[in-house]
Symmetry: D2
């Protein structure tokens, strides 16, 4: 991550100011407010603003006139109850706003979550910075043999070198040509006074998908939990998962009781199909179960045995 001195100064200026408010305040989140949490080689996640806390969930669930909270223990119990039973609307009463810098190919996955508010930096209007993602060596994975949308072994030796070289050189050349098309350098200098320069909205098409973009992204807690349940999952692509993991840390500071319930009832939970549940019941009854006799596909059987911690 490379913030310019000017950007660092702007962030510090924001952090330096405090004002009095009658609203719910979460000191643990205030501590890191505006800070750029590094993700990938040039990206970051910054919490810009938030509304509500764990108590606001309880307050809304009770439609109360005051804080709505009783004893801390009781509130925690209610939050766990609500999450366990999919009473999701009270979680919509909390809101958080992030500033995120991320590669375009990650942004394309991320934006599929339609329930957030987004303002992206416009390459129609402005010129993008020269920053592109190159995976760290340990993430240079081969295509998985078993999973058509997963990663296999890490590339090694000459192939790894060559891969990194190609990614770097193509991104560099495309960016240099982007400037050439614009007829303008990064610091706003005209390259050739005899040329006009291609319109920004056209020149951007010459950039590669690993270039970084950035946006403001605002979401309510319910939709954030849904996003994190999919994107912090081991099946998510590494490059988006690291963003989700950084956001999980902000979640823990913001709404600790919800975070804990989320870990117990969503992240660490498993769903058993009708057929899988039947197998579990038969196993508990001491039966020896023949996979062929369960209606489960071989893959489902394998996944079930792994979930149950059994040898396959």
């Amino acid at each position: 991550m490379s913030l310019t001195p000017e950007q660092k100064q702007e962030i510090e200026a924001l952090k330096g100011q405090t004002q009095a408010t009658r609203r719910a305040v979460v000191p643990a989140l205030e501590e890191i407010l505006y800070d750029a949490i590094p993700v990938l080689d040039h990206g970051f996640v910054r919490v810009i603003d938030y509304m509500g806390d764990d108590a606001a969930i309880v307050q809304a669930a009770r439609v109360s006139y005051g804080k709505g909270t009783k004893q801390l223990r009781e509130d925690r119990g209610l939050i766990r109850y609500l999450l366990r039973h999919r009473h999701t609307t009270p979680f919509e009463m909390c809101e958080i706003k992030y500033h995120v810098k991320l590669p375009i190919f990650v942004a394309r996955q991320w934006i599929r979550h339609r329930t957030a508010n987004v303002n992206e930096y416009s390459a129609r209007y402005s010129i993008l910075d020269k920053e592109f993602y190159v995976p760290p060596r340990e993430q240079l994975a081969a295509q998985s043999a078993s999973n058509r949308q997963g990663r296999g072994d890490v590339l090694e030796g000459a192939e790894a070198e060559e891969t990194l070289r190609i990614l770097r050189e193509d991104a560099e050349r495309c960016y240099a040509d982007y400037q050439m098309l614009l007829n303008e350098t990064s610091d706003g200098q005209t390259i050739d006074p005899n040329r006009q320069g291609l319109a920004r909205e056209l020149a951007r098409m010459n950039l590669t998908l690993n270039l970084y973009t950035q946006w403001y992204w605002k979401v309510n807690l319910h939709n954030l939990l849904h996003f994190l349940s999919l994107r912090a999952d081991p099946h998510a692509q590494y490059e988006i998962r690291v963003y989700a993991e950084a956001m999980l840390e902000t979640l823990k500071r913001w709404v600790p009781a919800s975070y804990e319930a989320f870990e117990d009832y969503v992240v660490g939970a498993v769903t058993f199909s009708r057929g899988a549940l039947d197998v579990v019941q038969r196993l508990l009854a001491g039966e020896t179960v023949d996979p062929a006799d369960t209606g489960l596909s071989p893959r489902e059987w394998r996944e079930l045995m792994q979930t149950l911690g059994r040898e396959v």
Copy 2:
């Protein structure tokens, strides 16, 4: 509006607390935070929380690292530009949460706006209070003769008396019978120890649509403006319009530059159809325009002339 002493105390307790925050703070809105603004005979609107201010719109539009704001005048200009050109996403970066008490028939209109977060007081779970809406005498309107979904003259004399009597008596009787069905008085006393009482989720069906309900309602600024443009409009039913008007006052305190732009470019604006624009151009060119020669329906013509401040 009738808050219990306990409710008043809870509100005062919230108002009495202030804490330090690094977030954007709007003092003019903090002043009325948590206050119950009276609407209709027993309803209210309370601002419970908010996120962002006018500057947050500018900050998001610029995807900036710091406040994003420049001079106040420049920011105001950008907000006006954004609203005029329907660049709506930056307005989604501000959020507000209300606690509203409102008659059920108003709630049924209101809930049709699907882009908000809602937690309603549950009559499946709890017992509703005995509070129902009876229109003030000057709002006891007859059906409009010209507009199938509008109001005409105000009822007078005996008909007005009779109308009020019916509304009051039916609501009272239905509420008394609701308690009878529940076998429980408002203060939780069992009425007849030999009866079981009907389940709450069933007993509620005996209530009339003018009974008050309440909810927490949270919305972003863009969707709030859309809601207000429809519900603060003279064509909206009076009973929902007064809520929209109360919320307009909170808008003015919260985001004054957006409020002003909204007044100029939405509330006070008019849209001219292709045909109406043609008429305006011809009139400005000094032409005498024959309504029959415009493609406008008689009703469209009449509305156009009124908009232009001309005799019809």
Copy 3:
């Protein structure tokens, strides 16, 4: 359910017409298209239109140029895979439109599902029919002692009689007074020529919540499955559950492979929390587990044992 002869005729007229189309057609659903499936005492569910079938899910998942389907068995496998792994977007490619007649208190629960398109019959504009819901005797349940939003024993004898009498009489009286307020009978006759009649948008507030309303409700398959998973659930209130059950039957006709997968992976599935999974693993390993030693609440333990088919 009571359709007027005119309504029956309109439905028959629609059913009588067939035209050629190149779109996907589902004969089993066409059979019942437009039919009013009775629900509760006066309600119904009618399928009015649909888009797509099981094959359309496969076609979208593969972003194919043609039908996208391969062998029937392979398609079924893909649909099961998609649902099992929460790849929900292909299910959004099918759409269905219902016409529903339902009591207002049921409509108020239903409308909380915000992801559908709705056109409700307007009592601002038109006069509602005199049809209200009175529960069948076996549904006249007392409040549950253990579950604050559930039902307990069925009321009996005099209490049941009295309950039915109150519900009927109050609804009848309120409806009669609604006409009186409007100064208009159901068949459009003025009651008293010397009165003006209250505006429709006001008079409707005198009606009880068990009166029937109706709407067109259109939803995509993904959101329909979500709706059904919540509303066909045993914890849903009986009066909305019967609608969900009627819709499940239409689902079975429309997209049989999706229906089957939904039954196996959603309706019949259970989710085990992190702690519950740990208990299952320990039980399978032959351990004797002490509830106090699991981190589960007594209620969670009880529910887990029931799910596993064990004595509590």
Copy 4:
């Protein structure tokens, strides 16, 4: 546009089949169903399915049991009334599904419309085709001097040549390197048996933003009209506008009365701000208006004069 013989065959196979349905059918749209309408150099728009027609809007607005339509003229009048008065929900009762092939930078604008259902071809799972957009010579525009997000003069001579050369060569090289990274040619041949090949989800980041992607995109009529009002607008970028224009043609076939109303009340309409309306009224009253005396910014004044067909 280059469809493979196999794709053409699949399309023809779909077009060749007809079946009987009781649903609303629109022959003018059926005629072009499944056809690939060419857009840009390799893109297309195909209508894959639809639900409803103009009559379905009327039917929903009236919540009717039958077709809901009366005389054709009356229906047209109702549709115009609904659109003019922003009664948008009946338009949500029609749905259409497109298959679209489009450059990634266009897809990134398009996806910001969150109210549609989308299934995009996955480059995590599959290998993208070698097809990228190069603007036609007459669209090679320079940056606009007056509008920071618009186009100015068309580039000429050597600069145009050079621009085209860069766009082509960079896209070609990046695509060739994409294959090299994958270690796989377009027809699935391994390039070097001693290499493993980078995972697809990573290799894709080496592609340029003018590469074509494709998706299934499904939307209701109300949201489609909103999309078209923004994207068929002269201020929209040319490369997305041509898609919107192709879709306008399908709209005209599908719902002709709605199309006509859309042209009159949205596309051809103008909105006058409070201040602009005041100017119009003063001009019509014969007043000479001094721009400085109107509260309008110079830009607003200029736009207003142009709208009114006046010299500036």
